[in-house]
Symmetry: C2
Subunit: 335 residues, 2 copies
Amino acid sequence: MAPHATPQGLGEFDLIRQYFERPVRRAALGIGDDCALLQPGAGCQLAVSSDMLVQDRHFFADADPFQLGHKALAVNLSDLAACGASPLAFTLALALPAADAAWLAPFSRGLLALADRHGCELVGGDTTRGPLNICITVFGEVPAPAGRSQALLRCGARCGDDIYVSGTLGDARLALEAIRGEWTLPAALRKRACTRLHQPEPRVALGQALRGLATSAIDISDGLLGDLGHVLKASGVGARLDAPCLVDRMACHGPALDAVVPAEHQLRCVLAGGDDYELAFTAPADRRDAVAAAAQHSATPVSRIGTITARGGLQVVDAQGAAITGHWASFDHFC
Amino acid sequence: MAPHATPQGLGEFDLIRQYFERPVRRAALGIGDDCALLQPGAGCQLAVSSDMLVQDRHFFADADPFQLGHKALAVNLSDLAACGASPLAFTLALALPAADAAWLAPFSRGLLALADRHGCELVGGDTTRGPLNICITVFGEVPAPAGRSQALLRCGARCGDDIYVSGTLGDARLALEAIRGEWTLPAALRKRACTRLHQPEPRVALGQALRGLATSAIDISDGLLGDLGHVLKASGVGARLDAPCLVDRMACHGPALDAVVPAEHQLRCVLAGGDDYELAFTAPADRRDAVAAAAQHSATPVSRIGTITARGGLQVVDAQGAAITGHWASFDHFC
């Protein structure tokens, strides 16, 4: 509770001014008062999400600070994407062991570069000394004309809907395992996987393009099966996923990976790897053209991977429709 | 990054459901999807503030969890109060060493009891394993008819304005020093001081009553001089504080305290103690009746403690108008 001196002698307010304070364009008031002031557009709802990143849990102590700044915001923007919201602003609460310029400068560059790309302004927050902890709360707008929200929710999947995922899955998990020494990957593959782990790209444009089209959506942070499970539970439905549509879902997929990692383990990474920050969503089977157009409009690859079923539970089936079983535990922070 | 088992075997989602999830009344969507959805009132701006509480920095390891839950939200509501905003909702991001029911149950009770008193709904957040860290982001509404915000800001103090503070100052600091063993207080005084430290009451009703009346406002978290200094800097003015109006500002003030703590140190606690969560604000000298009415309407004691001056800087003067000097450093998390 008592103030401590830092090697650089950089105070709390200097730190904020130097690395984080910039004029706001869209917010009514940014950093520097007791509160920031946001003015959501007329007829819009405000979508809010908060994610906390903790050292040794979400990143390693030697994590590149530029990538960490990027990722801390990316995982939050991914929640806005899953809601179909347009990014507006965010707050940053940061606990730091010390006010270290060599860390803060690249961290803020990585953070603000991604923020700029999505027109998402840093409007406030908090800094304090403590074990490294990055907590971002992000705000986006969702049209709600006449009070009817266009937000994409988890509860709208219906029997017969197609199930889609964006981009690629499983590479972040593969990178984590490679870093832990469980696999020795060729350099190019390791780099590709590590970029997916350390610098995920939130699917913000796709989320917006899916408004009025997807019947449900979620972002895949804890693993496809676990996160899709939330959709199924909220919607009161089941799902059948086609393994042949999943095995080549990794960005690292190919003979070079097959030579090192068994196909069965690759499927495990795709189904339950986590840290993907892709969107899983459902849409009516008669809207396939519209989904393809949304994918094209948002320049985001999208794959159809299965079907929503009336019966509860989630089945993974092979090309012949036979169920594949496996122990694919989803990520849980406390279990 | 790998899941860990907890003694209770309580998973992340069970934990949220059991201790924090409740139906929302005002928000369009609460806990359970990728984002919460807020629908600010027509013609309102959204006031946003975020505060992070870290063990050994903002509270001790043996802090009472009920009081800690209360305080974590109170310090955030205090920022809304300083803005004149009406509480609406909040998110909670929580890093915990373990999912310990004996801690979580009273923590959530303290948190939600204060939330209920202010009609402030828990709409979302995050839980993860890590060194104890509590990050709350709070949302309030401020009327902004025709785009003219009624938010109380730091930049509006004008020469000749009266300076006020709510409630009492310095007791939280006194409690901290007593806990550290620097003073041995009589039991009743120690209890009174500790309540001010551990369970501050945010001045939410006063903040709202001051809309359209106070020319500036700030909440006192780092100490009166330091926080008032932010107002002076933002407003481009100076201030003269009357020591005789300050010496009896402590809730613990009286002969029993005088017998233990020198008057000079009491003044130091009042001026630069911190953790007070009272409001400091300015208002035109011809609105004293209106300020008294706002104080009465909000059932909040308010004291006039000085005057805004044209010249920069902040002077504390005695009954004869002579400047009192002292080293009253304000709190800084990194210096």
